[in-house]
Subunit: 296 residues, 2 copies
């Protein structure tokens, strides 16, 4: 990984932590337990891939700092809420997340469920706060995030994923599921980044949407590979869950070698899409390589 | 109940059903199971109190029909999502809702959890769709709903309610919990109604907010009374749950007679607040009486 990307990544991760801390209610405020659970599940960890995508997309032009902070917080809150609910016993039943006990292990199922609910709400509350961008553009950000998170996006993908346990769909069904389950929010992240700019460029928005589609799929293919290879301590979540749960994965459908080649191809396609951007193509290129070459 | 209110109520209930049906994805659209669960939990029942409050508030002035439909759908979706999650085994563990098996009994816990999640998202997606009102005003509706639904509103109240099981707080703690748990969304309903008007009147907004605060509390006091008196078939949900769960209620703290007087007082205070409105004070008055005199 090159040094400048590594520095940029550290900066964005610190920025994500700061803005989340700013927008999350303090854990001394009532209801304390709920706010503690929300903060526990959101702060202090995670790759912040979605925050990085928001920032990288915004940096392709002149952006509004408040709008950028709101967008970072909103996508990371939606992501954190989805992880809390995903880990619940009635879903994936996972005890470990980001190297810590998952939220319901730490706070009980009921408060964890509510923490997830409230984090989703807070994402929309934050995104509907004031900033200096035109209201119509802010509404577009809100609608983009809501569409990507709901039954035709992330939650729809989770529903399909659950129904797929024990079944063996073809590659295109698996891709469609991931396009919704993780891809939709990853695409929304770059769109929200562009929409945090003073003059969002529709061509760049479209290019970055395609970039994010490839990146999101590559991310998932690598996730499936890591699930079979890494151990839980490195991943920060329980490894080997997919095989254990009899879940179809890119590895189970293609084998490891083909899956790795597929991830690389998707990564190169993503990179090709950002080569002619006026700004920030190095960071977007490095991020695509980071997604393909990560070990956790 | 007077005839004209009864007719108005029937009209609004039919309207709520229509707009929810319009904004909910068809259950033939993928993911089918999730969309079936969302529709099951939202359509075909409920008092539609929140929809009535939206419409009654909007009718105090000239309103935009699209904005009104969006507001009705959004508050009823938030309400339906909260009921799905409330009924889950890790929360109130209730098998019966609106006279039918609760959502997780019909669709399983995982799909029910996701249906609740997706209904919350859809509320914000619907409210961020286009209409002819100024974008700034639409952002205000979104922010109002998000603030009322989150950790400082409805979900916060649910968290406090859970922590209160087995404890016996004083009346003011109980009121504070209900002010958040049900009151916040009831207040948001009248605000969204006013914000669906072409020229929202800040004085009316403020008066209706106070009206809704009293009405929401009266609603809850009556709920506690009904829980001790009515049977499950009439209520459409499991009766006697509060005593069974050792939950503090207005009845356990005040006794039935004082609780009934308190509900009547709150109702009269609500009515007093809407007497001098230029329009629709009869409907708002009748609705307050309806809340106090309901039997289910």
């Amino acid at each position: 990984m090159n040094t400048s990307f590594s520095q940029w990544q550290n900066r964005v991760q610190a920025q994500a932590e700061l803005v989340l801390n700013h927008f999350l209610p303090p854990d001394t405020q009532s209801p304390e337990l709920l706010h503690q659970a929300m903060r526990y599940a959101t702060l202090g960890g995670g790759k912040r891939l979605r925050a990085m995508l928001v920032v990288a997309a915004a940096e392709t032009a002149a952006f509004n700092q408040t709008a950028l902070s709101q967008a970072i917080a909103a996508v990371e809150m939606i992501h954190a809420y989805s992880l809390i609910h995903d880990d619940l016993p009635c879903m994936d039943d996972d005890d470990l997340r980001r190297g810590k006990p998952s939220c319901h292990k730490a706070f009980g199922e009921a408060q964890a469920l509510l923490a997830g609910d409230a984090l989703q709400t807070l994402a929309f509350a934050v995104l509907s706060q004031e900033n200096d961008l035109p209201p119509q553009q802010r509404l577009r950000s809100l609608h983009t995030l809501a569409t990507a998170s709901g039954s035709l996006g992330m939650v729809g993908g989770q529903s399909i994923d659950l129904s797929a346990v024990g079944h063996f769909p073809d590659l295109s069904s698996l891709e469609n599921m991931h396009r919704l389950k993780t891809g939709a929010l990853i695409c929304a992240s770059v769109k929200l980044g562009v929409l945090a700019c003073y003059s969002p460029d529709e061509t760049i928005l479209c290019q970055l949407d395609c970039y994010a589609k490839n990146l999101g799929l590559a991310f998932q293919v690598v996730d499936d590979i890591l699930d079979t290879q890494a151990d839980s301590a490195v991943l920060g979540k329980t490894a080997g869950k997919d095989a254990q749960n009899n879940k179809p994965t890119f590895v189970s459908l293609m084998g490891i070698e083909k899956a790795q080649n597929y991830a690389n191809d998707l990564c190169e396609q993503a990179i090709a899409l950002v080569q002619d951007l006026p700004r920030n193509s190095e960071i977007l290129t490095a991020m695509a390589r980071f997604v393909c070459q990560r070990h956790c």
